[in-house]
């Protein structure tokens, strides 16, 4: 379970203070598929970064699987990221010098698994996203949709409890976006909790629960202007 209570995040420069999150509170239960929508600058990506332990919050409490995250040191936070959380990014973020097999291998290396176990997981996860035959391909040899599937395989290989997706279909055409969302739904049906940030309400509707963020806070429903913007 993911539980944030009164989380705030303030970015400070010498002259400016920006409140990205204000008393942000949210609970996501195990197995949920939650979409987070909101206008640009609303704080949804900041929320995802804090949820994924990529950024530290300014105040508030954050529990992941019943563990207070704010008390962890860098090594422990890295371990939590590695073992419990999988990331899917809008721009795929594959490492161009590594082939598909080695890209999926990255989080497993930091897990310290032996070679046989890593190989099994890599092949299984690539099989699940339909790319088992592309092990030795370089990222540049794949289409955008295929690259995003590799990124999903990389996230799945670590067998995470939470999958955090930041605009996962933002760089894909409609057909590829649908297939990626189908894949996420399938993953969620296998028990993985998914939190997906998107600015498109039509995509958000594919989730089981929709969260709307505005001015760094969770609001009850999607504001009208957002619905209008999405048609």
């Amino acid at each position: 379970m993911l539980k944030m209570t009164d989380v705030s995040k303030i970015y400070r420069t010498d002259t400016v203070e920006t409140h990205a999150l204000r008393e942000f509170s949210l609970t996501v239960d195990e197995g949920e598929f939650v979409s987070v929508t909101g206008p640009s600058g609303s704080g949804k990506t900041t929320f995802l970064n804090i949820a994924g332990l990529l950024e530290e919050m300014t105040s508030g409490t954050y529990e992941l699987d019943g563990r207070d995250i704010s008390k962890l040191n860098d090594r422990e936070r890295s371990r939590v990221r590695n073992e419990k959380i999988g990331f899917i990014f809008q721009s795929f973020n594959l490492i161009p010098e590594l082939n598909i097999f080695d890209n999926v291998d990255v989080p497993l290396r930091y897990r310290g698994l032996n070679a046989a176990e890593r190989k099994r997981r890599i092949e299984e996860s690539l099989d699940m996203v339909g790319l088992a035959s592309r092990l030795k391909h370089q990222p540049a040899q794949l289409s955008g949709g295929q690259q995003q599937r590799v990124a999903i395989a990389r996230a799945l290989a670590g067998e995470p409890r939470f999958l955090l997706a930041d605009e996962p279909t933002g760089n894909l055409d409609t057909h590829m976006a649908d297939s990626v969302l189908d894949l996420l739904s399938e993953i969620n049906s296998n028990g993985v909790t998914i939190i997906m940030v998107t600015h498109e309400l039509t995509l958000a509707d594919r989730a089981k629960r929709n969260i709307f963020v505005r001015d760094g806070q969770v609001t009850d429903a999607a504001p009208e202007f957002l619905r209008a913007a999405n048609g």
Partner: protein, 439 residues
């Protein structure tokens, strides 16, 4: 993970060939400059007889003037008078002892068509060869009887034997020098100590002598000294006898002392000897006898030229400049890879993991720089050898041994790791979230 980091390092180097090549080149050039000078300094100061240098002691006694102390009283004279050398030699208080001085000769070839030529020579005692582990190709040193009876016997060097006899076993054959005919009793095998430690009065790196003959023979036949002669008061007369009885120092005296007890015993003997001489009106200065071993003797005589030390300092500065350049290049490389760093952080890499990854990559660049640095060092030494090829000893000083080769690599790796510390630290400070959401 080490192998994984090695693989990542290789991939990174391959992905940025120009930047990597610049870093390797910067390290190699810095290492080359540094190691070229350091090799020369190392060879200049290397112990030429490490296995027994502690047992070989040069005898120093302060026979100098009370009014004008030798070297301002910092240390006793570095040579002995003939009187003292003769007395110490006759006393035979050490396991082995030699009195020696340099004396060049003119060889008169048997072939009347061949012109006479000069050879370097050394008057010494039979123990010289055993004390200094001098290798023989043919024959051996002369015996004690030859020393006593002032025989015309000679040991010649390998090059001279090659020149005169085509490299054949020449023991028993004759050689005439300055009108004296010597019987060859031994031919040296290759013997080329980097430092001619047994006589540091002239160039400490010049080759060993071509001929060695008994000290007693040289003295009986009034062979001249080609080394340094220093006097704190003039001889009482103009003839050779007056010179030999003077306080002029010109003879090197070595003893072989096997252990601490023998050292104490010999030192006691020297003290007693000087006290006795004081009663005869000599040795006006306070008692100051010393027995430096080979390494101490080389330091005392400043075998390593000050100029070389200054050059080494400059070369180290140059290496530092190269490393600063490498730091800049590494920093540029790291800043180009912030996205990769952020991604790895997101996928579970701790700061320590990233630190290891980048340090190992820097180590690989260091190894490459070190290997190339061996090449640049070799080129540097070759350049010095060609530049100063008119000096025979330069050949010996520009030899890069295994220890210098290993040091070049170690220095390169350590330098690369040191250069990588700041860029790697910067890499670890990259905030993952800042780089991952690139649209």
């Amino acid at each position: 993970m080490f192998r994984y980091y090695l693989k990542l390092g290789a991939l990174s180097i391959r992905a940025n060939p120009a930047l990597s090549a610049l870093m390797v080149a910067a390290i190699a050039i810095g290492i080359g400059a540094c190691m070229t000078i350091f090799t020369i300094q190392h060879m200049m100061g290397s112990n030429p007889i490490p296995h027994k240098s502690a047992q070989l002691r040069h005898v120093q006694m302060d026979s100098w003037s009370d009014a004008n102390p030798y070297n301002d009283g910092a240390n006793p004279p570095i040579q002995l008078t003939y009187t003292d050398a003769r007395n110490l030699l006759a006393a035979e208080q050490a396991v082995r002892q030699i009195a020696t001085f340099k004396s060049g000769r003119i060889v008169e070839p048997e072939d009347p068509d061949e012109l006479p030529y000069t050879v370097s020579g050394r008057a010494t005692s039979k123990d010289f060869f055993a004390m200094f582990d001098v290798p023989f190709k043919y024959g051996s040193a002369w015996d004690a009887a030859a020393d006593l009876s002032e025989e015309f016997v000679v040991v010649i060097s390998e090059p001279l034997n090659e020149r005169m006899f085509g490299g054949e076993d020449s023991t028993g054959r004759r050689i005439t020098m300055n009108g004296d005919t010597f019987r060859i009793v031994g031919v040296l095998d290759t013997w080329s100590p980097v430092v001619k430690f047994y006589d540091l009065n002239n160039n400490p790196h010049e080759p060993v002598e071509d001929t060695f003959f008994p000290f007693s023979t040289a003295m009986a036949n009034e062979y001249g000294n080609e080394g340094n002669t220093n006097c704190w008061k003039p001889p009482e007369g103009g003839d050779r006898a007056a010179f030999l009885n003077s306080e002029c120092i010109w003879i090197q005296f070595w003893v072989e002392i096997p252990d601490q007890a023998a050292e104490t015993q010999y030192m006691n003997y020297l003290d007693a000897y000087v006290e006795q001489q004081k009663e005869l009106g000599r040795f006006p200065r306070p008692l100051d006898n010393r027995l430096p071993d080979v390494e101490e003797w080389m330091i005392l005589n400043e075998v390593v030229d000050d100029d070389v030390s200054v050059l080494l300092g400059l070369a180290v500065l140059f290496l530092i400049v190269c490393l600063l350049n490498t730091i800049g290049l590494l920093l540029a490389k790291v800043m180009r890879r912030t996205k990769d760093i952020s991604l790895r952080r997101a996928l579970g890499a701790s700061k320590a993991s990233l630190f290891s990854q980048y340090i190992i990559e820097a180590g690989m660049i260091g190894v490459a720089g070190g290997l190339l640095g061996i090449g640049t060092t070799w080129l540097g030494l070759l350049g010095i050898r060609n530049l100063f090829n008119r000096f025979d000893f330069v050949e010996k000083l520009t030899h890069m041994d295994w220890s210098m080769t290993a040091l070049a690599i170690v220095l390169a790796v350590v330098s690369a790791l040191a250069a990588a510390l700041y860029p790697t630290w910067r890499a670890c400070q990259v905030t993952p979230a800042s780089q991952l959401r690139i649209q």
